[in-house]
């Protein structure tokens, strides 16, 4: 009997710890969701859904293991599941994507966060999620490989390619600094890269019958 009471108390404590860990992670969960969904309301829906799914599945979590990776993995899986079902998500329209990426030529010394956010949405989903996890959320390569379910080397290469594509989309150079190329060549390289990214995105959307990027009507 005493053992039963003890087990019940341990269960209560475990629930309490789980709840506290969940609360501590909510800001990061919301931020990751915002990067994935772009739309504030959809992102918060995703974060709330993740929260409740994680709570329902808390018995499958091993205390002491990586809680953040476990939570982000639930969110990522839920995001792609929702993406397949949700008609509010649309596949990337290259013309729309071109219009939303507006770079102010006067911004020579800094970089606009809104431009980065918009350019991020033009990248293939696999590069975007790695940039969001490692670059924005600050998770390690190892954690990212757990969350995505791929090798650490794959995370690193997707990160490098994503970062280069982002720089190219924003200011025309893979390293974030304008190279000494003729302007026409920069535009051409920019366009090729964007086209490659979009073709990749559209292939994925077609193959998996799911959209890759939410585009606000």
């Amino acid at each position: 009997m005493a053992k039963k009471i003890s087990t019940a108390t341990e269960g209560d404590e475990a629930d309490k710890h789980f709840r506290d860990d969940l609360v501590a992670l909510l800001p990061s969960l919301r931020a990751f969701a915002r990067g994935l969904c772009r739309h504030r309301e959809m992102a918060d829906d995703l974060a709330q859904d993740t929260m409740m799914r994680a709570w329902a599945a808390r018995d499958s979590y091993t205390p002491g293991s990586n809680f953040r990776a476990w939570m982000f993995m639930i969110m990522r899986n839920q995001f792609y599941t929702t993406l397949r079902k949700n008609s509010r998500m649309a596949s990337l329209d290259p013309e729309v994507a071109e219009r939303v990426l507006v770079v102010d030529p006067a911004q020579q010394d800094g970089i606009n966060v809104d431009d980065v956010a918009k350019a991020l949405q033009k990248l293939p989903a696999e590069q975007r999620e790695v940039l969001l996890l490692v670059g924005a959320s600050g998770v390690s390569y190892e954690e990212a490989s757990q969350i995505i379910g791929c090798a650490m080397g794959t995370v690193k290469s997707r990160l490098a390619r994503g970062r280069a594509a982002l720089a190219l989309l924003i200011d025309g150079s893979p390293d974030g600094k304008l190279p000494g190329l003729p302007r026409s060549r920069i535009k051409s390289a920019n366009r090729d890269e964007a086209d490659d990214s979009m073709a990749s995105v559209q292939r994925k959307a077609s193959t998996a019958k799911m959209a890759t990027i939410a585009v606000q009507a």
Binding site: I5, T9, R19, P27, D114, L132, A136, A167
Partner: protein, 57 residues
């Protein structure tokens, strides 16, 4: 004396990686927001479930 107007939402980078700084700022700007009421309501539901479970024991 007039000062130059800083463009909205622009990251200032002193010798760092501007893209990394922008990504980090994207994260931090959301993470620093107050939790919306919907989240607080869900947490309240979780707390209630914990309390009910505890009361049963």
């Amino acid at each position: 004396m007039a000062t130059a107007k800083k463009p909205r939402n622009q990251v200032e980078v002193a010798g760092g990686d501007p893209i990394a700084a922008a990504l980090r700022q994207m994260h931090d700007s959301v993470a620093s927001e107050d939790l919306p009421d919907d989240f607080l309501r869900l947490l309240g539901e979780i707390d209630a479930r914990i309390a009910v479970k505890k009361a049963k024991h």
